[in-house]
């Protein structure tokens, strides 16, 4: 067991803003975002890498931030739910979840939004199967997935229309 706490300096760009901090190696990316940067939109729902509530984009790819050490994001770019909305308007994916009632309590929602962002950035017109596959790593405990599918489909349509 290490006798002295090791601190590792890292620089991470989160939602376009650079942060340089020293962290303990065991700090998870999700805790870095929530506790070190105060970005509490990214949630923790499980301890098993199962639920996807903690999903963020790391260098453009969705990851479960409870299963990445913050030191591994060094020199990287992170996008969280806080980075989705513009100054005065919601991101089309947020708007679509709102309009299609893609949530009840909202706890899982940031993770679903980030998975949807990854899906729609890769596939502008996903069919039902691709949508199911794209959000298979996210679990909602409140609602059926029907409105979430609807929301993703609506978001895809509105993003194609832009």
């Amino acid at each position: 067991m290490p006798d002295q706490v090791q601190m590792v300096p890292i620089t991470v760009t989160v939602n376009g803003q650079r942060h340089s901090l020293s962290v303990e190696p065991r700090m998870l990316l999700v805790s870095f975002l929530r506790e070190a940067l105060g970005l509490t939109g990214t949630h923790i729902g499980c301890d098993t890498t199962y639920c996807g509530a903690c999903t963020v984009l790391l260098n453009g790819r969705s990851v479960k931030s409870c299963t990445v050490f913050a030191v591994q994001a060094d020199q990287g770019e992170v996008r969280t739910v806080e980075g989705l909305a513009g100054e005065s308007s919601l991101h089309p994916i947020q708007q679509a979840f709102l309009e299609n009632h893609g949530l009840q309590c909202g706890y899982c929602t940031p993770g679903f939004l980030m998975s949807a962002v990854q899906l729609l950035e890769k596939n502008k017109d996903p069919d039902e199967k691709a949508i199911r596959k794209g959000i298979a790593g996210n679990t909602c405990r409140c609602t059926g997935y029907q409105n979430i599918f609807k929301a993703v489909r609506a978001a895809a349509a509105s993003m194609r229309g832009r």
Binding site: Q6, P25, R26, T49, R61, T67, V71, Q72, S115
Partner: protein, 298 residues
């Protein structure tokens, strides 16, 4: 939950990683995608004192064709294999890569880490066994190349020495007129298979099989090669009777345990059903039919 405190070491080359492992001794572990190791550390089922991070080593993420081989760098993520045009030419490899866990896990988890972990329910081992695969390992004395069947020793045990690592995986491309398919039955996406089946058929013509490869996952301590089932097909016409017989033989080769994923009996029956499906898909693919196969969710 937080893992126990550890010292973090960032390797910038493979040889540096090997010398770090050598210097730090048995208290050190490699960190690749972290998709097996970090969950274990969070649950304190693993508490290594030192982690050697491979993620900052350049040039270890690739899928390339070389001769009749597909060479995959140890740090290549499942999602990169899923997206690779080279890998897509070996459909069974694509079947596997595209269905592991979920997209978030596939974006991080690596092929090298999966093989090194040697989880009996891992998806790669059965697939790579039916293709003929070698694992290139690097240690303090240089490289050695091991056949996958020799690399996998037991559940969670490989031939890797504590200061050795996986550098590359070399997959033999199947000959023309071949078809393969991989089907894993899972309760939901982010869980491991209850049982899985990999089939690869090299055909003489559209119905007679020259050589069959059949391997089973999650129903033994390592992936199991179903040799008797292969014999049923070798040199024979792959008709519905032969498929039935091969599926029965594969079921007898399975050695499952009852657990939260189902009873041993259920898993045997599942193997029989999966072998039939995978053989039918492999046969159609060998005839050039595009058949979509993916992991099944109960």
């Amino acid at each position: 939950m937080y893992p126990r405190a550890f010292h973090y070491h960032r390797a910038t080359s493979l040889s540096e990683a090997v010398s770090m492992l050598t210097d730090l001794g048995e208290e050190a572990r490699l960190l690749a995608g972290g998709q097996s190791l970090i969950p274990l550390m969070k649950l304190r089922l693993a508490s290594p004192a030192h982690l050697v991070d491979l993620n900052f080593i350049p040039g270890l993420e690739y899928v390339r064709e070389q001769g009749n081989e597909l060479r995959v760098g140890a740090l290549t993520r499942h999602a990169q294999i899923e997206e690779s045009a080279e890998a897509a030419r070996v459909p069974i490899v694509h079947d596997c890569a595209s269905g592991i866990a979920d997209i978030q896990v596939r974006n991080r988890g690596t092929l090298g880490g999966s093989l090194a972990e040697a989880d009996p329910t891992g998806d790669w081992a059965p697939v790579l066994l039916v293709l003929g695969t070698e694992v290139v390992c690097q240690g303090p004395d240089g490289e050695r190349t091991v056949k996958l069947e020799d690399f996998l020793v037991d559940a969670f045990v490989t031939t890797l020495a504590p200061n050795e690592l996986v550098k590359e995986v070399r997959i033999t491309q199947p000959p023309k007129k071949s078809g393969g398919a991989y089907i894993a039955a899972k309760r939901s996406a982010p869980v491991y298979a209850s049982a899985s089946v990999a089939v690869q058929l090299a055909m003489e013509d559209s119905s007679v099989c020259r050589e069959a490869g059949i391997a089973l996952g999650a129903v033994g301590l390592t992936a199991i090669r179903a040799r008797e089932a292969e014999k049923v097909l070798n040199g024979k016409s792959v008709d519905s009777r032969a498929i039935e017989e091969a599926a029965e033989a594969a079921m007898r080769a399975a050695d499952p345990q009852s657990d939260m994923r189902g009873s041993a009996e259920y898993k045997r029956v599942l193997v029989r059903a999966l072998v039939k499906r995978a053989l039918e898909a492999a046969l159609r693919r060998s005839r050039g039919e595009p058949v979509e196969v993916s992991h099944l969710y109960a």
